[in-house]
Assembly symmetry: C2
């Protein structure tokens, strides 16, 4: 499914750490990094997708396993096919990655919040870099699509999800912005995703960020038995 747990309208988004330098934060500094997911992250990805299914009340449609994710993701270099950015969060500076993809430089931002972020599932989403521990707070999964009118690829955002305790902080916007940045870097023409028509807060937020919400198009889906049957459709 797509575009779950959209980021809130900008009015809910706290100001980023603007005034004081990062070395002398006031309040509660939160260090964040967006990086490419790797096959080692599959257990986190599986748990995040399951949480998204719970959020959308669609667990009856959820059949992904760690094994099925591992066998269908990471088969192509980043950005050429299905690609996942993970959002890492820590209360202390995040150590540099030991190895990075030449095609993507991780994006780092430091926030400063009045209250500490309390994560009841911290242990289940922890990544250890030596003695440092960071937490996976969300992800975005996207892949190339194509506009024949523009004769240009774009990116389609299939999923955008931020865990509950990290919502309304601007992290969803940070993930989506990272996809937009990569699209521009690659000379792509568009970033697209879908939203539920009753999710008026999300629609308002997307429109405020400059996105068009196309009113007339409807998604058609052929799946299951109908897909099996139609492959041999007698024309």
């Amino acid at each position: 499914m797509a575009a779950a747990a959209p980021p809130p309208p900008p009015s809910d988004v706290p100001e980023p750490c603007m005034g004081p330098p990062e070395t002398t934060p006031i309040g509660h500094p939160v260090f964040t990094r967006i990086r490419l997911a790797t096959p080692l992250d599959v257990p986190f990805i599986h748990k995040l997708i399951h949480q998204m299914a719970v959020f959308e009340k669609l667990t009856h449609l959820f059949s992904a396993t760690e094994s099925s994710l591992a066998s269908t993701l990471f088969l192509s270099p980043p950005f050429q096919s299905f690609t996942i950015f993970l959002l890492e969060i820590s209360s202390s500076p995040i150590p540099p990655l030991l190895s990075t993809s030449p095609s993507f430089t991780p994006i780092e931002k430091t926030f400063n919040f009045d209250l500490p972020l309390d994560d009841p599932e911290k242990d289940a989403f922890s990544v250890h870099y030596g003695n440092d521990q960071v937490v996976i707070a969300g992800f975005v999964l996207f892949f190339p699509n194509y506009s024949t009118f523009l004769a240009k690829p774009g990116f389609y955002v299939e999923d955008l999800f931020v865990r509950e305790c990290y919502r309304r902080k601007g992290f969803g916007k940070m993930l989506l912005s990272a996809v937009a940045k990569q699209a521009v870097k690659m000379g792509y023409g568009r970033v697209e995703w879908v939203v539920l028509d009753w999710n008026v807060n999300a629609i308002k937020f997307y429109e405020q960020m400059g996105a068009q919400v196309l009113p007339e198009w409807r998604i058609c889906r052929l799946t299951g038995d109908s897909l099996q049957a139609y492959q041999n459709a007698n024309v």
Copy 2:
């Protein structure tokens, strides 16, 4: 744009050549083949896309050139990224291809119509195989998408187009069925596309073929200046 010129409701679709064997057709036999497009087909593809833009009254959005198509298509093996099937039509048997992709066997069907098909643009869409001439009648452009709930890829059909003089013959259905067949062959979970909500004939046709039309999802698009601006969105 997507899913232009959808095939007509089944009631409009002539019966295929069922009774007599193909060697002794009654009426006007029409030989068809669906094959993978190659870079040599770019001039045809460009003309087809332009006709689609005219049909959709969206020529103001059309900026593709043969050069921009050539530089963005055919960069990956078939089915791994943007993939085009072409529909070839001839009044005589179509000669076998000299080289084919190991990943796709062309699909051939023989139709038998009461009246000959008159193609006023035959010369502009002709392909020559030795002394034989066939005509490009339509195309479908599709690429992999991904369902995280299924942990399976699918195919997204970006464009489906049949030239005007070949419509209402079942050729659109033949192209879409070829995509469904390939999806099943590859173990994919879905084929998806979009349709305009006012195109009730198309919606009825898609529902009759077993597709679900999802009423609640809306497409969001970030493009042009908004895309440029959002890449550095200040969260």
